[in-house]
């Protein structure tokens, strides 16, 4: 199945909303993959961080909204601190989660029980905070 691209598809309103919410310019990403390379939880993701951004560049936001990735992201900010183009994937993830939660669709991959387990096993503080933020919408 070929993905049909056009100006209309690429300039998706929802992608624009993600840019507004996150304060990020999706077009800045030049797909070096450093975010994915350094992400401590990328192994658990179904779409790598750079792939998620690429899908947004192609206007394919629904695929990203449906992914586990945005819930696995621990908001540790490793990707943001290392991005050579100053793109904060963690902020983009925040925006994507916000969109899902405001649609009142509940697809959290982390439940309260999981959080307590993560907390018990030396999770970095940022990770725990991120997980709680997700649950609290």
């Amino acid at each position: 199945m070929r993905l049909r691209l056009s100006g209309e598809v690429i300039k998706d309103d929802l992608v624009k909303r993600v840019e507004d919410l996150s304060g990020q310019n999706i077009a800045m990403c030049y797909q070096c993959g450093r975010c994915s390379a350094g992400c401590p939880v990328a192994d658990e993701m179904d779409i790598l961080p750079n792939e998620a951004i690429r899908l947004l560049q192609l206007g394919q936001i629904e695929e990203v909204l449906d992914s586990k990735t945005i819930w696995i992201c621990a908001s540790c900010l490793q990707c943001s601190s290392r991005c050579p183009r100053g793109v904060e994937f963690s902020s983009i993830c925040d925006a994507l989660r916000a969109i899902v939660l405001r649609r009142r669709i509940t697809t959290p991959s982390v439940d309260a029980g999981d959080v307590s387990r993560v907390m018990r096993t030396d999770a970095p503080q940022m990770g725990v905070v991120g997980a709680l933020r997700k649950l609290n919408g």
Binding site: M1, R2, L3, R4, L5, S6, G7, I10, K11, N25, A27, M28, Y30, Q31, N50, E51, R54, L55, Q57, L58, Q60, R85
Partner: protein, 652 residues
């Protein structure tokens, strides 16, 4: 003559001494017949090392020197100068290469390496014993340069040489100077208008008192050698006496015949009598006889009737101009790879698939659409435009193997200018790699993605085809692993740069080398990038390989400085290691003449013998090997010397 040879064995740090027992070499050779002095030193090429040579020549009255060190390509000149400083003829100084030819390749066996080093040095001692004292050959020189090609590279080279005070003949085959740069809209990465920065140089080149500008002319024949070339230039019949023509343009206006304009890349028409573009230099028309009604049927003749100064002359013939020059700069530029070879992209049959130069014209304010981007098929403003890089380039299986270097940048520029033109349009660039090596280039590319929303898609497009008034683009985004399709209004092909169609033929006339793809070969890819291997020929611009305007201009100025360096002396000096014919022995069989690749041997019909022209001979040795009576010898490489050298190498 008593031989008093000095042997100087270099350690080259551990490069030689780590393998070869240099002390033993020096000691053993001290006893070799003819050797008056032998020593070793850590770095012979250092100042103290050179001084050892200079001092020893005087102290031991040396008649010859063998420096046993590295390759002569590196330090022969150093030690020849050292010899000359002590009044020893520089051609009595030789290098014995015991590094590249010995220590570096025999690390495993020090004993045998040492023996081999001794043998190498012995052969050079035998050579030096018979070396003649020679002087460089001096050849009178014409201090005038020929520049072939009137694009930006040729223009720059001509201006630089002329401004240095030398006369220049600039030959351009088309009716105007300017080349491809005159066709471009704006130039990356600064987006200044191409014609605005080019036309002042075009005017300067036409008005410069030291430049003879010959447009609508081609090189017919070149003979001679560096410093003394004779060039025959064909002045093509323009059927307009361009010296008389006042450029009023009436003939062009009234001419009833229209044909596709080369300058507009077929997107507009021109008349049969025409000036290629408004700012052409010279701004005088030429008549294209292949498309002229008068030449077809004898009827019409309007241009001649209307010309107020009687400049139109249907009887005009090609003329030949003879010029003598001392150096030749070749700047014949490039063409685009033929689109007809790219079948999967329509091979030129899809109207809304255009070449990069066509798109330049669509963007240009002086172009057929007045700078509004309109597609060729129906004149509509395209809303979805796809740009393809590497069309023909980087495809050794089907097209050309090399990267054309400029396409990434100009397609980025195209996409950006398109967006400046059509704000609500979408531009896509399919790429394999985005190569932005140049000052401000990467920033320019990033600007296109960030500010102009140009979408870069990594992957090569498999095919283009027409469907419902659109050009369907079937490609892939390898970053997501998805096949993609775009219904485009216009597709622009970043076709490979290939040498100008005349390049190979011209290379045969000039007798200079071309590489596999027809680009002129430089003498050394790093250290002699603007010289041809053939002396007196210099390269500038895309004729040597794909390059953008800044590189072409830089190379043109470099060529000009090489020409000026050549012209800085009254006479041209060259190595005297050339062939020599014993006039008494030569039977006049002319075999040598037939094998000489440089046309350096002439036949003296009065004496019935062949004669080497020392100014041309490159010392390649072809004639020496071919001469049936062994009458030809190479200076300082005679048969007698070679025999002694081989004997020294073979003795136990």
């Amino acid at each position: 003559m008593e031989h008093r040879i000095g042997v100087f064995v270099c350690h080259c740090g551990s490069n030689i001494a780590g393998v070869v027992d240099v002390k033993r070499v020096a000691e053993q050779l001290a006893d070799y017949p003819g050797v008056a002095y032998s020593t070793d030193y850590l770095y012979m090429c250092s100042d103290p090392g050179q001084n050892m040579v200079k001092d020893a020549i005087k102290k031991h009255s040396l008649t010859g020197v063998v420096v046993s060190a590295c390759s002569p390509t590196l330090h022969e000149a150093t030690f020849r100068r050292a010899g000359a400083a002590s009044d020893l003829n520089q051609y009595r100084v030789e290098m014995a290469n015991i590094r590249e030819h010995c220590s570096w390749v025999h690390r495993g066996d020090k004993e045998k390496a040492t023996e081999k080093a001794i043998k190498i040095i012995k052969t050079m001692i035998e050579k030096v014993k018979q070396n003649e004292a020679l002087e460089p050959i001096s050849v009178p020189m014409t201090h005038r340069a020929l520049v072939v090609g009137g694009g930006i590279a040729g223009i720059q080279a001509a201006l630089d040489i002329a401004n240095a005070g030398h006369d220049v003949v600039l030959v351009e085959k088309s009716p105007s100077v300017g080349g491809h740069m005159a066709q471009l809209s704006e130039t990356f990465p600064t987006l200044d208008c191409s014609q605005c920065i080019l036309t002042p140089k075009m005017v300067e080149v036409s008005q410069h008192p030291r430049i003879r500008l010959l447009t609508y002319c081609e090189i017919d024949d070149v003979s001679g050698y560096v410093g003394n070339f004779k060039v025959r230039i064909r002045k093509k019949a323009a059927y307009v006496n361009r010296d008389v023509c006042n450029g009023c343009g009436l003939c062009v206006e009234k001419c009833p015949r229209t044909v596709a304009s080369e300058f507009e890349e077929g997107l507009a028409t021109r008349k049969a009598i025409y000036t290629p573009f408004a700012q052409a230099v010279p701004n005088k028309p030429v008549l294209d006889r292949d498309n002229c009604t008068y030449f077809e049927s004898g009827k019409c003749g309007i241009c001649q009737k209307i010309c107020p100064v009687n400049a139109v002359d249907y009887e005009q013939k090609d003329e030949f101009i003879e010029e003598e020059v001392g150096a030749i700069v070749v700047a014949t530029g490039f063409d685009l790879y033929p689109v007809v070879n790219i079948g999967e992209y329509g091979g030129g049959s899809i109207e809304d698939v255009v070449t990069s130069l066509q798109f330049e014209r669509l963007l240009s304010a002086s172009g057929p659409t007045g700078g509004e981007v309109r597609r060729p098929s129906d004149g509509k403003i395209p809303k979805e435009v796809v740009f393809l890089t590497c069309v023909g380039s980087r495809d050794p299986e089907n097209h050309v193997s090399y990267c054309s270097k400029v396409c990434c940048m100009y397609l980025t520029k195209h996409a950006m200018l398109y967006k400046h033109n059509v704000h609500d349009g979408q531009a896509y660039v399919f790429y394999m790699d985005v190569r932005t090596g140049g000052k401000g280039y990467e920033e320019f590319y990033q600007r296109a993605t960030e500010e102009d929303d140009v979408l870069y898609l990594r992957g090569k497009v498999s095919k283009l085809f027409e469907e419902d008034g659109k050009v369907m683009v079937w490609g892939v985004d390898t970053l997501t692993g998805r096949k993609v399709e775009i219904a485009a209004d216009l597709v622009v092909l970043g076709l490979a740069m290939v040498p100008n169609s005349t390049a190979v033929e011209l290379s045969k006339k000039l007798k200079i080398q071309v590489s596999e793809w027809g680009f002129y070969s430089e003498a050394h890819p790093k250290l002699r990038p603007v010289e041809s291997l053939a002396p007196g020929f210099y390269l500038a611009g895309a004729a040597q390989g794909p390059k953008d305007i800044p590189d072409a201009v830089a190379q043109a100025s470099a060529s000009a400085s090489k020409v000026c360096a050549l012209f800085s002396e009254k006479e041209y000096h060259r190595e005297p290691i050339v062939a020599w014919i014993d006039e008494d022995e030569c039977s006049g069989c002319k075999v040598c003449i037939s094998v000489c690749p440089y046309d350096a041997i002439e036949f003296d019909s009065e004496k019935g013998i062949s004669r080497i022209q020392e100014a041309i001979c490159e010392g390649c040795g072809a004639c020496i090997a071919a001469c049936p009576s062994a009458t030809i010898q190479q200076r300082n490489l005679t048969d007698s010397q070679l025999y002694k050298m081989v004997s020294a190498a073979l003795e136990d």
